[in-house]
Symmetry: C2
Subunit: 883 residues, 2 copies
Amino acid sequence: SAQVRCAFAASRRISAEALKPLDTFPRRHISPTAEDQAAMAKTCGFDSVDALVDATVPPSIRLEKSLDLGKYTTGFAESEMLENFKAMASKNEVKRSFIGMGYYNTFTPTVILRNILENPGWYTQYTPYQAEIAQGRLESLLNYQTMVSDLTGLPMANASLLDEATAAAEAMGMCSNIVRGKRKKFFIASNCHPQTIAVCETRADGLGMEVVVGNPAEIDYSGKDYCGILLQYPGTDGAIEDYESVIKVAHDNNAKVVMATDLLALTMLTPPGELGADIAVGSAQRFGVPMGYGGPHAAFLATSFDYKRLMPGRIIGISVDSQGNPCLRMAMQTREQHIRRDKATSNICTAQALLANMAAMYGVYHGPEGLKSIAERTHGLAAVFAAGVEKLGAGKVGSAPFFDTVKVDCGPGKAVGIAKAAEAKGMNLRVLDANTITVAFDETTKLSDVDDLFAAFSGKAAPFTAESLAAAVDTTLPSNFVRQSKYLTHPIFNMYHSEHEMLRYLSKLQSKDLSLCHSMIALGSCTMKLNATSEMIPITWPELANIHPFAPVDQAKGYEEMFKDLATMLCEITGFDSVSLQPNAGAAGEYAGLMAIRAYHQVGLTSPGYIGADVCHLNLHKTFCIPHGGGGPGMGPIGVKKHLAPFLPSHPVIPTGGLPATASQNSFGVVSAAPWGSALILPISFMYIAMMGSKGLTEASKVAILNANYMASRLEKHYPILFRGKNGTCAHEFIIDLRNYKNTAGIEPEDVAKRLIDYGFHAPTMSWPVPGTLMVEPTESESKAELDRFCDAMIAIRQEIKFIEDKVYDKTNNMLKNAPHTAEMVISDSWDKKYARELGAFPLHWVKDAKFWPSTGRVDNVYGDRHLITTLQPAEAPVEKVA
Amino acid sequence: SAQVRCAFAASRRISAEALKPLDTFPRRHISPTAEDQAAMAKTCGFDSVDALVDATVPPSIRLEKSLDLGKYTTGFAESEMLENFKAMASKNEVKRSFIGMGYYNTFTPTVILRNILENPGWYTQYTPYQAEIAQGRLESLLNYQTMVSDLTGLPMANASLLDEATAAAEAMGMCSNIVRGKRKKFFIASNCHPQTIAVCETRADGLGMEVVVGNPAEIDYSGKDYCGILLQYPGTDGAIEDYESVIKVAHDNNAKVVMATDLLALTMLTPPGELGADIAVGSAQRFGVPMGYGGPHAAFLATSFDYKRLMPGRIIGISVDSQGNPCLRMAMQTREQHIRRDKATSNICTAQALLANMAAMYGVYHGPEGLKSIAERTHGLAAVFAAGVEKLGAGKVGSAPFFDTVKVDCGPGKAVGIAKAAEAKGMNLRVLDANTITVAFDETTKLSDVDDLFAAFSGKAAPFTAESLAAAVDTTLPSNFVRQSKYLTHPIFNMYHSEHEMLRYLSKLQSKDLSLCHSMIALGSCTMKLNATSEMIPITWPELANIHPFAPVDQAKGYEEMFKDLATMLCEITGFDSVSLQPNAGAAGEYAGLMAIRAYHQVGLTSPGYIGADVCHLNLHKTFCIPHGGGGPGMGPIGVKKHLAPFLPSHPVIPTGGLPATASQNSFGVVSAAPWGSALILPISFMYIAMMGSKGLTEASKVAILNANYMASRLEKHYPILFRGKNGTCAHEFIIDLRNYKNTAGIEPEDVAKRLIDYGFHAPTMSWPVPGTLMVEPTESESKAELDRFCDAMIAIRQEIKFIEDKVYDKTNNMLKNAPHTAEMVISDSWDKKYARELGAFPLHWVKDAKFWPSTGRVDNVYGDRHLITTLQPAEAPVEKVA
Ligand SMILES: Cc1ncc(COP(=O)(O)O)c(C=O)c1O
Ligand SMILES: Cc1ncc(COP(=O)(O)O)c(C=O)c1O
Ligand SMILES: O=C([O-])O
């Protein structure tokens, strides 16, 4: 081999530190570089970032010690943490679930999995308050509403609620509101899911109502105190009951009827609307959304237009834009923020938009015939199982009609043994009582699974196969239950059935929505930081995605470990002693906190000030990186001080409580359908914290403060900035005051918000907490370059306002009032604006590089609310043009 | 429970058939519905699809029996097949690889994994022949070229070649071409990778050249017959040789110097260009592209501008557009098709665009400092290992400098035993000879791996840890090898280092590229059918992605089974007896076929007619759904008749041959670096066939024919259609004749192609095989609605031409000549066209719905070729504007 005759460079040793993995996370998550940070601090008038932070966060509230996050303290590298977490997740055992109870296995069509759930173009958007740059999601959510409305047979649906149980509680609240709170009792049929009953009971407690559980054929209306009743259709045990007379009697007694139902079953069964129900609720989970150990999933509520003003959650409606073209937006919700405390009586902020989109697309992809086939096959498998189990002599099924869930009387004391035998074969059944098992089927069940069930029930291989039995099994339903009406007749549900058509539909809708993939979304108080890929990857691992929330807990050891580690870290970070992971939205967390305090004091409501000290609600979908998903999912765990820990939420099926676990428990009740809320998204926050480590989290906070102050420093030369501290700095957000421009130029905050769209930006939070202002929160994941672009846009807009003030631009026909400008508008041959087209669409040179075009002109909210339309319309009946 | 007192509907039984899984694939892949198909056949003048197919495919060549695909005959449902294949893939054992030899473990940054490799917006594009709608990929490929050029120290690089070995063979061909074939010998240093030597030998054989392998210090130039020499830097055994005098001597003897090199090493080592090499080749695999059991990966070739006309593969260059703005396009390749047989001497069609994009983005994400840190850490781990293994007395390392690969003399006959011990601990080493092992490190190696290696080498746990050793280890390289020059100084490599910046950069580039996510890409002879998600999912499973191509074959049982099943099905489908999976592009397949025939006849070249009968090359990236990836990867397996089977390609490291395996073997040689070519993409075709099943494949062919005939039927009323069969039908593609419009309206095919962009479409194949025409292949995955849109666009364009013919539109200033129209053009205040802006950008009403905007005006190819620029330019030195 060649001669090495060369001099050696100066001897160089490598440190063990330099041999640690290099794919560390904080430097990827926190965008400003060290040089940027130094320069930005200087712009703010400080020598260093630390000097700025010292001036901003007073020593009195400053945490001096660094966070002890146990083994996560130093922060794992991305590849390491993915490996670690994979090992942890693998401690979960994924068994086939036949548990039912509102949660079913489902196939997520892979085109939907990849292009929605795993796609930042769909999961990083904010709630569609800026309708002009959210028409894609809005169309999909309108599809969701239409699908729910068609299937339930009720004209108006929302998009969406948190879970079936809270949807039932919302419906209960509506029933009470319909009679203005004058009737305090609400009846719940005992064949409702236990978690639904429990959540309603807890909510009733908070509302000063009383829940009565029993046989709906025997309700005593004599006190005239029932505002409504809740029926489950089909029941939790699978039986399809005939509610004709129950409904009639309720109505005769001025009680409203709520039906909790199943969308898949409704492709075969007479829908609630046709049975006379006033409200239908349920979950769209089985429409392609993984069980995820409890959530997130989209729930729905459908009702008549009579109750539109009482409808909880988000409602998408059709309106018209400035050009007179039809467009979509959130209806009856004109204020950009839903979070004003006095109005926020229910979870109107976080919805389950991402999951509603998945469910809607599942409906679009399968269409009416596809869904019907899935339902019939599911029902057929249930029927074959029922026939086989009787034939085997392994149990009695009885004569009640069922859809997908078969109740088997196995003989005295036999249920647990059979369930154990099934578990040994990798199948989870539901033990209803000592003698009774239910078996719920779904689209993933195979004929061979039915054979395995036969073996589990009879203790040996059956002498026949499910396949051989099929032809002899009668799958007929009683005729009064058989649905006659059509559904999903709109072309959208009938034209995207091939993968290619679906892919293009998804990408067309995606292209209409501005997301974090495009530019910063500086929503004050909404922390739109980037949701990193490595945080998102675990949520579609089958080990996490395919577990039923009521599976035996020893099958979920991986989840258990993650919950514990996450809760422990959240305690350390917040300084609280115990955490409940159950609340699946911020509002649910706030409510749970109040209820825990009440349980502790056994007195009435405490003051909000008091909450501050003893309870803290953590919006994981903000600070801890769960993406906003275009309006949910969210997650609202609460941290509490030690004395409140025993009172944290529990669950009727799987007992839970605060984490770390407390010695004694005295829970106030249940706030969400699933024991740990939306368990499947907790990995996102877990990954974030574990990869950031103690130093990374502290740096994130510092840079969040730095970014906000840097922007405030740049913008204060152009706009008044409100609410700065005594050192002239702000915390991680600040407020731009726009109130004066109304007088000087006739410009409203909305004009500025819409004009920002022309520059490629989503507006900050508008008019909250101060009317007439914008609240800006840049977050630590935005780079200096992006902050500068946003500031440049705001400064350019100020200049535009100045030109209006100076009468250079027209007071009404100007680029702010006409914003946003669609391509159609600026290309139109009938352009009649008093400024150049280029100024409309390309106000700064860099906008041209990757122009994001709004798909509609400014949306007319008032028109849409006056002519409320909340489902897809036949092409022949377009919204009337007003232009 | 409720009384069931209702009548039952007519008794209904379910068939076992209806209980089979419903997520069948063919109906998702083949877009036209049964009703559509019937209507389309009618438009073509036939009563049924079958009648049309009967008229089109003559009985003489019609396959009568249905395909026997073994257990795949009926076609598996999507969920079933994903489950089956997961089980098969799990038979692979993923061990840690220290084998090296040009393949290394690497971390694909998850933001790149998700947003490029798993994103149809990046993998479904066609080769960027239509530059105006491909600026995203073109920028990324220019980044690739710049990165390769900077790191190798040579001014011009291509993007990209198939693998390092074929890149070396291409370089050999260049050396020969430089002297116009007058020197027949090519020298290869014996420390080159064995697969590189083997591929060059086979290629030399085909070119009538002779390869001499030996010590480059001892080359005998006396015959004046060496056109070039190939050196490996660092060598396959890890040693970094000093080639100063070898290079000088070669140049003194008029031989060109090719260096095979490693991009990561070049961040630390003096680059080939500075050492005087004429050409550098290598693989960019370790820049974030999974090993994938051999491929696909992007290789590179860099050289001086002197050889630009001899450069193989694609070269991206900077030019200007119709507005005088800088833009990108493929340079020196003005014809839209590269496939004219007479010119296609090398693999200029399929490149490895998708993988080059991944590698380029890896460079962008890490930047110069990041790459250097990775290199230094890798080198540091190697140095620590070398020190430790000597300290343990377990082997001698010697004094040759190394980068990442340590050669250990383990003592007589000890190598195999140590390798076995390592394998038992889950680690694969390379046994160089009975006494010698090499251990190659990479960015995924951990300190604990080094400890495991110590244990394997010494037979017990070492008395020290790698970590404890680090501080004492000297990592110095000889000073003449230490790189002094800068690299990756362009801002693009220094501004996207946080995930958020990277995500936005990726999505900005993506938004400039038209892909199958937007509209059909009806490339004649290129079969741009949809690449379904379920086909793509397996390729990022670690069980498939993380295996070294030279891992012991018993660790790749899953791959083995898949290869066998796939090859068997390909034999059944093509009617051939044996298949070689090694050729990793169509050209390589054609070449392998010729070589096999030659080996059989032991005579010179046979005629192409003869190839037709005995060999068939299968472009899996067309018919069998491997996506085009924006210009690769491709795959070119060949099927042969029995008598040719023994001659199929083998491999010097892992012996291979035809599948199913033949009794005797007499291979002609080696055509690709890896034993089974680009193994990681074979799952795509495998999934496709296994899910389609026999009936599905036949139906796909029928619908491909139907779709083509339907379009031809609609278009024949407006354009002459060429090459139809005697029944007036075409097969799966047809040709539109545009030749006459040059005379009648001054319109060239290119004008039509560019005008199609304004309608949202990619042009069909231009001027091939007939100049002046468009060749259209719609494929079975396009829906009737999409075909109709394309036809509507073509018909509207014909009308526009008519208006030019009729002098309604101007002959030079018209929408065809000015096409494509960017947003900037139509919004410009200086619009001077003789037609309305709206006609430019929105020629049909549905174009508005989701307008795809070209990012540049028409590209000037000639200008770019005259001023060839193939790397990123400093912002201060923009391309001169010509407008
Ligand atoms: C302060 C604040 N709380 C809560 C929310 C909404 O989250 P949730 O509905 O989960 O409380 C938002 C965002 O809209 C918010 O800004
Ligand atoms: C007929 C034909 N062969 C081959 C190719 C290219 O594939 P490959 O380079 O793998 O042969 C193409 C497409 O560009 C083609 O149209
Ligand atoms: O509105 C939110 O989902 O935060």
